[in-house]
């Protein structure tokens, strides 16, 4: 049974239709000791049928530890969002840790649309502050599934 309702599927299909770049979701998973990896896989697997610009690549956290490390990911399930521009893969540096269920699913879709070419919706003031950032910054936003 589909996790995304058919009316939501239709809405997503319309939103994704505006994407101008291919988006690749790197899904970090592990076989053992991961309660929500299967649920995350089920959610993610429902996205590519809604847009030919969305692909999912599964990365085994243990077997492909170097890839996980390159993305700064040390637990599963996790998702790193990348897109392709002029044939080159670009990392958005947007990550999701844990199953993207509930409100997090909406955040995930927003991130996919951003990666897919939708202009950022930040104010000019925020963009100016961001332009002043010249050292690595790591932000963690904690949420709960509601």
């Amino acid at each position: 049974m589909a996790l995304i309702s058919s009316s939501d599927q239709e809405r997503l299909r319309e939103s994704f239709a505006g994407m101008t770049r291919p988006v690749n979701l790197r899904f970090f998973t592990q076989t053992l000791d991961c309660e929500t990896c299967l649920q995350t896989k089920q959610i993610l697997d429902e996205l590519p049928p809604l847009s030919d610009r969305i692909t999912i690549d599964e990365v085994n956290l243990i077997l492909e530890g170097d890839t996980a490390k390159a993305y700064g990911i040390d637990r599963a399930p996790a998702i790193a969002i990348t897109y392709e521009e002029n044939g080159v893969a670009v990392d958005t540096r947007i990550r999701f840790l844990g199953a993207p269920a509930g409100y997090e699913f909406i955040s995930l879709i927003q991130a996919v649309l951003l990666a897919g070419g939708r202009p950022p919706q930040l104010s000019a003031e925020s963009l100016a502050r961001l332009a002043a950032v010249d050292k690595p910054v790591t932000m963690q936003v904690f949420t709960t599934p509601t």
């Binding site: 309660e35 929500t36 700064g72 637990r75 958005t92 540096r93 947007i94 990550r95 999701f96 840790l97 844990g98 199953a99 997090e104 955040s107 991130a111 951003l114 990666a115 950022p120 930040l122 104010s123 003031e125 925020s126 963009l127 502050r129 961001l130 332009a131 002043a132 950032v133 010249d134 050292k135 690595p136 910054v137 790591t138 932000m139 963690q140 936003v141 904690f142 949420t143 709960t144 599934p145």
Partner: protein, 63 residues
């Protein structure tokens, strides 16, 4: 913010799935944002206030 700045990496963390992280960063309510393990932002702020607090150390007008 991560999308716009090449220096920023952003993690959305599902707190109940990773209780060790929630404990380490003393997450008692959500949303809670932790920037470079030092700045803590509680709740959902308007964009301008959020960006200002999160990036206070890069600002000339101070936090």
């Amino acid at each position: 913010m991560a999308f716009v700045s090449p220096h920023i990496t952003a993690f959305a963390v599902e707190a109940t799935e990773f209780p060790d992280l929630a404990r380490r960063y003393r997450v008692n309510g959500v949303p809670k944002t932790v920037v470079d393990e030092e700045i803590e932002i509680l709740g959902a702020l308007p964009e301008s206030a959020f960006v200002e607090q999160a990036l206070a150390k890069f600002s000339n007008d101070g936090p």
